[in-house]
Structures are given as C-alpha cells and as structure tokens.
Amino acid sequence: MTDKIKKIRLTDRNVKFLEKVEEISGESITLCDQCGTCSAGCPFVEEMDITPSQLMREVLLGQEEVLRARTTWICASCFTCTVRCPRMLDVSKVAEALRQIGLRQAIDEIDINIIDREEYRKMPTIALVSAYRKLTG
C-alpha cells in the first residue's frame, strides 16, 4: 500500500506557485481544512476531473499540474462554495487565479471562430460577452 502513496517534497518552486495563486486570488489558501463542503455543494462537480477541494489541496502543495485540470475551466463562478465555506475562503477566486495564470500568457480556452453561426445569432449578448471575458485573455 505504502508504495502507492505519492510522496511530495515541497520545493521553492512549489512555494512560489502557491504564493502566486494567493497573490492573484487574494485568498489565504493555507486556511483550507479539506472539509469538502465546496465539493459537496458544487453543481458542476460531476463534470470536473478533480473536485474543488482537491483543487485547493493541489494549490496548497504548489502542484503546477493543477493548471491543466479541467476543473478550473468548468467552474463558472456561481459562488455556491463561496457562501458555504466554513473557513470563509472563496474557491471561485482561486479558480479565477488559475485561469488567469494561463490567460495572461495569451493562451485562450475558447476559439471564437469555431462557434456555430446559427447558435451565435440566437444567443444573448450577455452569454457571448461573459464567455469571452472568462475564457479568453
């Protein structure tokens, strides 16, 4: 059993990554207790590859691979976790910081040009504007 446990030794790089996410999000991620309330209430959790509480843990341990998690892009900032966290943490701000780290390197999550023209015409303006703001840099 023990050989299956992933051993993590924190390096300076890990600590720097945590500090970066804390700086952009403004959240003290080390306060997270891993109680799982955010994951339990998240309406999108079934679509995610890691749960919101796992996301918090990965960030806390400075694991940069969290940037590749589908979870950060599935989070739609509905703030359900925000109003429920017993540690008063805002997971949606952490997800936003992770998205921003990618977007600030000009790596967009969606390509505007591939949206179906028919769909494009009937969609409310607010849908397009909010998607572009959230998913492009």
């Binding site: 700086e23 952009i24 999000s25 403004g26 309406p43 999108f44 679509e47 599935i74 739609a76 900032s77 509905c78 703030f79 359900t80 925000t82 109003v83 805002d90 949606s92 701000k93 936003e96 910081a97 921003q100 999550e109 969606i110 949206i115 769909e119 009937k122 969609m123 409310p124 303006t125 607010i126 849908a127 397009l128 504007v129 909010s130 998607a131 703001r133 959230k134 998913l135």
Partner: protein, 297 residues
C-alpha cells in the same frame, strides 16, 4: 418618482421583453425609469482577481453617470441605480463595494478617467426586486388589476441575485423575495430545491452539454413540485432554461417543456397591461396556451 435606470446590452436585444414590460409596469407603480444617457457595458463577470483593477473601469464609469444625472437635473437627489439584468446587477454592485472598501482603487480608476468628473462613490446599485420590496409588496398587490389566480410559479433566483452574500438581495440559501413577489400578483409560489442552482451560465457558448443537463434537472425539479412556469430576472438564465429546452427535448425523451418568463412579464400582465408590452412572442416555449388556459389572456 424618477430613478436612474441601467439597462445593459441584452435588454436591448434578446431580453427586450423584460425591459418593455418592466418600464411600463414601473409607470403604473408611479416610477419613471430614466435610462442613463451614456451607459456602457457593465463589465460583466467582474474579475475575481485582486490585481486586475482595469476590469472595474467599465462598471465604475456607469456608476459615475448616476452622479452626473443628478448634477444635470435628469433626476432629483436620486442616487439609486436601478437594474433589471441579474448579471449587470451583480457586476455593478460588486464593483461599487470594492470601491467603497478600497478607496485607493477608486483613486486609480478616477486617474484613468481623467477627462471625466470622476466617481464620488455616491451611487447605490439596486435590483428591480429590491425596488418592489421598498415600495412594499402589499402596495403592489393593491395595484394589481388581474390577479394571476391559479398559476403555479417556480421562483428561479439563480446565482447573481444572491451570491456572493455581500452583494445578494436576500439570503443566499433560503431567499423569499421572489416568492413574495409572486404572491403579490395573485399567483402561487411553488417551493422547490433548484431555485438557487446555477443554470450553467456562459458554458452555453462553448460547452452547452453542461447547460442542457442542468436545465433538465432544474425544470424537472420545478415540475416535480407542481410548477407550471418558471420566472427569472436573468437574460442568460432565461436563454439557458427557455431556448435550451430545444436541446433538452432532443436529449431527454421523457421531458415535458415548461414556459420560462421574465418576472416583469407577469407583473405587467397582473397590472392589466397587454399586447406588445408583455412581449410574450419573444419567449421560446410559448407561455400563451398556459395563460389562456388559466383565463389570464
């Protein structure tokens, strides 16, 4: 009473029916909604980062316009900015809160807007539901000409009216304001669990399967509790719950469609307005058969 009114992009396009019905209803309630003379995008889905101050420029510029309206005499000592769209409401109120809590941020933003008068922090962002609440739902009830008796309505709050807590218009977990609104127009509010669940929001653009699933779950939950229609004040929720029923029907064969209306359409109907003011032609699932069946059309 004249009140500054911020419409936002979608109320001029796919949610025109929400705007017209709200403006005309407000008139009956003695309120003249004065559109901001020079409004711009609310800055929707305001950045949640601590360092991205520039994204607050758009909302703050709108907040400043309300002060200008007072200075120009378009409204008289009225610093409340009325919103209808839940997303605009949330974005504008969040930015206003950030400016109030961080005066140094406001100084930076005013520096960027150096050609304009600058924002003094006087504006208060309110949603139409809060305006109705401040008038008093008992007073609304007195103005109702055609009570919507026998109509069972599921109040859909979604996210943006309630969360995060510091900008919400009611309790984030157990809100009642839309129930009280429904009762005031003579209809019956249906208690249900999905009233505060996210509809999938902007995922409708590039990941619509998420929205289709959530729309199915939300509407099915409403039906389970006996609702005949859903009301909302968010044009994005309206699209996801109403127009996306096309895809929901294709995916879930047992699914029965349900009309989704803007709250203001039912308010207008109850206040005795009719025809184009109600804008019922713009809804995807036609609400007219239901309203006719109940004797309200």
């Amino acid at each position: 009473m004249k009140i500054p009114y911020y419409p936002g992009c979608t109320l001029k396009t796919t949610a025109r029916n929400m705007e017209i019905s709200a403006i005309e209803s407000a008139k009956i309630l003695g309120i003249e909604m004065i559109e901001l003379p020079r409004w711009n995008c609310c800055g929707v889905v305001a950045s949640l980062t601590s360092d991205d101050l520039i994204s607050h420029l758009a909302p703050v510029r709108n907040l400043m316009r309300v002060e200008e309206m007072n200075e120009e005499g378009l409204v008289e000592n009225e610093y409340r900015m009325l919103t209808l769209c839940s997303m605009c409401f949330n974005t504008l109120r969040r930015s206003n809160l950030r400016m109030a809590e961080n005066p140094e941020d406001l100084i930076s933003i005013n520096d960027v807007m150096y050609l304009e008068k600058g924002y003094d922090g006087k504006t208060e962002v309110i949603h139409f539901f809060e305006l109705l609440d401040s008038i008093g739902f008992d007073k609304i009830e007195e103005k109702v000409k055609k009570p919507l008796t026998g109509l069972k309505i599921a109040p859909y709050y979604g996210c943006m009216l309630l969360r995060p807590k510091e900008v919400g218009i009611d309790s984030p977990e157990d809100p009642t304001i839309i129930q009280r609104f429904i009762s005031s127009i003579g209809a019956e509010p249906v208690p249900w669990e999905a009233k505060t669940i996210c509809c999938g929001s902007y995922h409708t653009v590039s990941n619509k399967d998420i929205v289709i699933k959530l729309a199915y779950e939300i509407i099915t939950n409403a039906r389970k509790h006996g609702a005949e229609a859903i009301i909302t004040s968010c044009p994005l929720c309206a699209f996801n719950l109403d127009d996306r029923q096309k895809e929901v029907r294709e995916k879930y064969l047992n699914f029965e469609p349900m009309p989704v209306l803007y709250f203001s359409q039912l308010l207008a109907l109850a206040l005795g307005l009719e025809g184009e003011t109600l804008g019922l032609e713009q809804n995807y699932i036609d609400p007219k058969p239901l309203l006719k069946e109940k004797g309200h059309l």
